[in-house]
C-alpha cells in the first residue's frame, strides 16, 4: 500500500515512490546464453585480434630474454640483460625525450586548431563547408609515408632559398639544411605531424559540436549572451568529455609517432629526432645505420615491451579520465 508524506515546502501530500519491481538476476551462464548471438558476431574480430595482436605480443615477451636475429629459433638466453641495457641507454631516453617534446608541442597546437576550425565549420550558414571538411581530412586518410616523401624533398629544396644573411649569422647551415640540423629537424617533423593528422581531431570535434542541443544556444541568445560567452559557458563544458578523450588519444598517438620520423629524418641527425618507435625499428630491422652490429629482435622486443609499460601509465590515466567524463555527463543529464 502506498504511503504518503507531507511536503515541507508545500504542505501537501506527496506519495512515496513505488518500489520498482526487479527481475530476478540470472546465473552467468544463462546471461551468456541469452546473449549468444552477440558473442557469435564479435567472435571473428576477437579471434583476429587474438591471432594478430595478443599472440605476437605475448610471444615477443619470450624473445626479450634472448639474443635473436629472427632466423631459426632463439637459443642464446641473456635473461634481463636487454631490459637493463634499454633502461640505461642514453639514446633510448633521448628518444623518449624527443617523443615527449613532439607531443607537448603538437597536441596543444593541433587540438586548438582542430577545435577552432570545427567551430567555424559547424556554422550551418558557411558555404562549401563540406569541401573544406574534405580538404582538411584528406591528409589524415593518406599514407604518412606518401605524404612525407614529397614534403622531405620540398624542405630540401629550401636549402638554397634561405637568404645568405641567415647563413652568415649562423642561423642556417646550407650543408645541413633543415632536416640535418638538430635545431630544426624535430620542428619540421612536428609541423608535418600537425598538418597531417589534425583532420582526425577536427572530425571528432565536429561530431561533438553537433551533439550540443541548439536550444541551449537559442536560450543563451535570448539571455543576451555573446559568442565568447556561448563558447565558454555552453560549447566547451558540453564537449569537454569528448575533448578529454580526444586529448588522451592524441597524447598516446603522438608518443607512438613513427612513419613521419622514418621518412623525413630516419631519426637523425645523430638521434636528434630519434623516437622510441624508430629506436625499436632500427634494432629490429636496420642495424647498420647507427646502432648495434646486427639485427637483434630480442633486444628490439625488450625495448618495445619496456616502452609499452611506460605508455601503460598514460593509458591508465586515460581510463580514469574517461570514467570521470562519463560521470560528469551523467551529472549534466546527457546521454552516455
Amino acid at each position: 500500500m502506498a504511503v504518503a508524506s507531507i511536503s515541507p515546502s508545500t504542505g501537501g501530500l506527496v506519495p512515496e515512490a513505488q518500489p520498482r519491481l526487479q527481475k530476478p538476476k540470472l546465473p552467468l551462464w544463462k546471461q551468456i546464453i541469452s546473449s549468444r548471438w552477440s558473442y557469435v558476431f564479435i567472435a571473428p574480430w576477437l579471434i583476429g585480434t587474438a591471432v594478430f595482436g595478443w599472440y605476437p605480443m605475448l610471444s615477443s615477451i619470450r624473445y626479450t630474454l634472448y639474443n635473436w636475429t629472427g632466423f631459426g629459433e632463439p637459443t642464446q638466453f641473456v635473461g634481463l640483460r636487454h631490459f637493463i641495457k634499454v633502461a640505461t641507454s642514453p639514446i633510448f631516453w633521448r628518444s623518449v625525450g624527443n617523443a615527449v617534446r613532439y607531443t607537448v608541442v603538437l597536441v596543444p597546437i593541433q587540438l586548438s586548431l582542430a577545435l577552432i576550425l570545427a567551430i567555424i565549420l559547424n556554422n550551418p550558414r558557411l558555404r562549401f563547408s563540406a569541401i573544406f571538411r574534405a580538404a582538411f581530412f584528406i591528409p589524415a586518410i593518406c599514407s604518412v609515408i606518401v605524404l612525407a616523401v614529397p614534403v622531405r624533398y620540398l624542405v630540401l629544396n629550401l636549402n638554397r632559398a634561405v637568404p645568405q644573411v641567415f647563413v652568415d649569422i649562423g642561423l642556417f647551415n646550407r650543408s645541413l639544411g633543415f632536416l640535418q640540423d638538430s635545431r630544426y629537424a624535430l620542428s619540421v617533423i612536428t609541423a608535418f605531424g600537425i598538418w597531417q593528422s589534425f583532420g582526425y581531431n577536427l572530425v571528432f570535434f565536429l561530431a561533438a559540436l553537433q551533439s550540443v542541443p541548439v536550444e541551449l544556444y537559442e536560450a543563451a541568445t535570448v539571455d543576451g549572451a555573446g559568442r565568447l560567452a556561448k563558447l565558454w559557458h555552453i560549447t566547451i563544458p558540453l564537449i569537454r568529455p569528448v575533448g578529454v578523450l580526444i586529448l588522451l588519444l592524441a597524447l598516446l598517438g603522438s608518443m607512438r609517432v613513427f612513419e613521419s620520423v622514418l621518412a623525413l629524418t630516419d631519426g637523425g641527425p645523430f638521434f636528434a629526432t630519434e623516437v622510441p618507435m624508430t629506436y625499436i625499428y632500427h634494432y629490429a630491422f636496420r642495424p647498420v645505420r647507427g646502432m648495434g652490429g646486427s639485427i637483434n629482435l630480442g633486444f628490439a622486443s625488450a625495448a618495445a615491451l619496456f616502452y609499452s609499460i611506460l605508455l601503460l601509465g598514460l593509458t591508465a590515466g586515460q581510463v580514469i579520465v574517461v570514467r570521470w567524463s562519463r560521470a560528469r555527463r551523467r551529472e549534466l543529464g546527457l546521454s552516455q
Binding site: Q76, L156, N173, L176, F270
Partner: protein
C-alpha cells in the same frame, strides 16, 4: 519513416559478409612454385632431402622446360646478369632463368625458407655462420654435386678460395668466390672537368690536399659547384671516413695483433672526422648532400655540381646509363693522414664480393647447379670485367685488354696493391663464428653522422671514441663469456694474431 532492419535480414547480411570474407581469404589449392612473395606467418617446414646429383658437368636437356627463379637486387650490374642469362639459355635449351628483384633479402629469405619456397638461386641473406649456428641451411650444399671437385680445382687458389669457417662448414661448401679478392670497392671519384676548370693539377693524396681541392672548387665557382658530396640519404655517410682512411687506420677499429679496439688510440680516426667537420664548417659540401641518395649524387657529380664524391665502381656503369657522354673523371686511392701508409684494405679467405647461393629447397638442383657453374667460369669472369662491374677471381680475366674505361684500367693497376688478406679467426677456430657480439651505441657510422651534423664537436672526439672502444671491448667480452658458458670451445687467444704484419698477406691456418 525508414523501416528498421529486422533480425532475420540482419543475420542474412552478416552471413553473406562473413562468407565472402572467408572465400576471399582462401588460398589457392596448388601454390605456384614461382610464387615470389612469402606469407607473413611462417610455418616450420622439413628440409628437402638432397636429390642424387647427375654425373655429367653440363645439365642434360630436362624432360620438361625448367624455370629457375633468381632473387637479386642488382640494378647497374643487371645488364651483366641479363647477358649471362641469355647466353646460358642459348647453351642450355629447356632451362630459363627469371630474375626477381628483391631488396629485403634478410627478411624475405627466412620467410621463404619456412614455407619451403626458397628461390633456386639468390644472393645475400643470413650469413653462412648464422645458418651453421642455427642448423637452418638456406644455402644448398654445393659439394654434394658429383663434379664439385672439378669445379673447385678450376679456381686459381683453392687453398684460400674454399675455407672451412668461411664458405665451407663441416666439409660442405655453400658458395664459391667469383670476384677478385678486393676488400672494398669504394673510392673517391674526381670530376676532372671541374679540376681542370679551377686549375687543380694534383690529385689529392692526403687529407690536407683533399681539403685544399674542395676549397678551390667551392670558392672559385662561387657556389655553382661544391668540393665534396656523399649520398648521405643512402646511409653511407661513413663511406668517406672508414673507407677512405684505410691507408692510415684499420677499418673497423680492431687491431688483430692484440684484439684491441683502437678508435681512440690511433689519432687518424679522429683526424679524418676532423676533416669531415672542416668540410661542413667551411661550406664545402653540396647543400643537397644530406638528403639525396647515392644515385642522385652520382647524377649531380656527372652534371658538374660537385667535384669529389664517394662511390663504388658500380658508378661507372651507372653513368653509362644516365650520362653516356660523361667520361672525364678518375678515382684516387684512400687518403694518407700520417706521413706514410701504415695499413691497407683487408679481405679474408673464402668467398669474395657478393656471394651467390643455390636455395636449399630448390626443385631443380641440377639445372640450378649448371647456372651456378656458368657464372663461376673464366669466360663469365671475362664478361664481368668487360661489363665494368668489377674484377674477377680469375687473374686472366683482369687483363687490361678487356677493360675499356681508363678509370678501370687505373683501378686494376693500383687496387691490388692496396689489398691484403687479413687474419681470419673463423679459419683458425670455426667456433669463433658462434659469438654474438652486440654492437655499440652509437657505432662509428653514427659518430660520423654526429660530427657531420655538428652534434659532436671536434673537442669531444677523444671522449666519444674512447667510449666507443670501451663499449666494443665490453660487448666482445660479454659475447665471449656467453659463448663459453654455453659450452662453445672458444677462447680469447683465437682472436689474437701477434705476428700479423698489416702490409703483408696473412694466411690463417686451421687450428694454428
Amino acid at each position: 519513416m525508414k523501416e528498421k532492419l529486422n533480425r532475420r535480414d540482419f543475420l542474412k547480411l552478416a552471413s553473406l559478409t562473413g562468407a565472402s570474407w572467408i572465400l576471399a581469404s582462401c588460398r589457392p589449392a596448388t601454390p605456384s612454385p614461382e610464387q615470389a612473395q612469402p606469407s607473413a606467418t611462417p610455418k616450420p617446414t622439413e628440409p628437402q632431402p638432397t636429390p642424387k646429383p647427375i654425373e655429367p658437368t653440363q645439365a642434360p636437356p630436362p624432360a620438361e622446360p625448367v624455370k629457375l627463379i633468381q632473387w637479386d637486387w642488382w640494378v647497374t650490374q643487371g645488364p651483366w646478369f641479363d647477358e649471362e642469362i641469355q647466353l646460358f639459355q642459348e647453351a642450355n635449351p629447356g632451362i630459363t632463368v627469371e630474375r626477381v628483384m628483391q631488396r629485403e633479402m634478410d627478411q624475405a629469405l627466412p620467410l621463404a625458407f619456412a614455407e619451403g619456397k626458397l628461390p633456386d638461386f639468390y644472393m645475400g641473406g643470413p650469413p653462412l655462420t648464422e645458418q651453421y649456428n642455427t642448423g637452418q641451411w638456406l644455402a644448398y650444399d654445393l659439394s654434394s654435386f658429383v663434379d664439385f671437385p672439378e669445379f673447385k680445382n678450376s679456381f686459381p687458389n683453392p687453398e684460400i678460395d674454399f675455407v672451412e669457417g668461411k664458405n665451407v662448414f663441416d666439409g660442405k661448401c655453400y658458395t664459391a668466390p667469383r670476384e677478385a679478392r678486393n676488400a672494398w670497392w669504394n673510392q673517391v671519384f674526381i670530376n676532372l672537368d671541374l679540376f681542370d676548370k679551377y686549375g687543380i693539377t694534383k690529385l689529392p693524396d692526403t687529407d690536407e690536399e683533399f681539403l685544399d681541392a674542395a676549397r678551390k672548387v667551392t670558392k672559385d665557382s662561387g657556389g655553382a659547384a661544391y668540393g665534396y658530396a656523399n649520398g648521405f640519404a643512402t646511409g653511407w655517410m661513413n663511406m668517406l671516413i672508414e673507407w677512405q682512411g684505410a691507408r692510415s687506420f684499420i677499418v673497423g677499429g680492431l687491431d688483430h695483433r692484440t684484439h684491441e679496439y683502437v678508435y681512440s688510440k690511433n689519432p687518424h680516426y679522429a683526424g679524418i672526422l676532423e676533416m669531415l667537420a672542416t668540410l661542413r664548417e667551411e661550406g664545402l659540401i653540396l647543400p643537397e648532400a644530406s638528403s639525396i641518395d647515392d644515385e642522385g649524387m652520382r647524377a649531380m657529380f656527372a652534371d658538374g655540381k660537385v667535384a669529389m664524391i664517394n662511390g663504388g665502381m658500380w658508378n661507372v656503369n651507372g653513368w653509362k646509363q644516365t650520362h653516356p657522354d660523361f667520361s672525364h673523371y678518375t678515382i684516387i686511392p684512400p687518403l694518407i693522414l700520417g706521413d706514410k701508409q701504415e695499413y691497407t684494405y683487408y679481405t679474408g679467405p673464402g668467398q669474395t664480393g657478393e656471394p651467390f647461393y643455390l636455395g636449399s629447397t630448390t626443385r631443380h638442383p641440377n639445372e640450378a647447379w649448371a647456372w651456378y657453374k656458368w657464372l663461376h667460369t673464366l669466360e663469365s669472369g671475362i664478361r664481368w670485367v668487360k661489363s665494368g662491374n668489377g674484377l674477377s677471381i680469375f687473374p686472366e680475366a683482369n687483363d687490361p685488354k678487356y677493360i675499356t674505361d681508363q678509370v678501370w684500367k687505373d683501378y686494376v693497376v693500383w687496387m691490388p696493391k692496396l689489398n691484403r688478406v687479413g687474419p681470419s679467426p673463423e679459419v683458425r677456430n670455426p667456433n669463433t663464428g658462434k659469438l654474438n657480439v652486440a654492437g655499440p651505441e652509437p657505432n662509428f657510422a653514427a659518430i660520423t653522422g654526429g660530427v657531420y651534423a655538428g652534434e659532436i664537436s671536434v673537442s669531444q672526439l677523444p671522449e666519444v671514441l674512447a667510449e666507443l672502444d670501451r663499449q666494443l671491448t665490453e660487448n666482445f667480452a660479454i659475447a665471449l663469456e656467453d659463448a663459453q658458458k654455453a659450452g662453445v670451445d672458444v677462447k680469447f687467444e683465437d682472436f689474437v694474431f701477434p705476428d700479423w704484419d698489416p702490409l703483408k698477406d696473412y694466411i690463417t691456418r686451421p687450428g694454428a
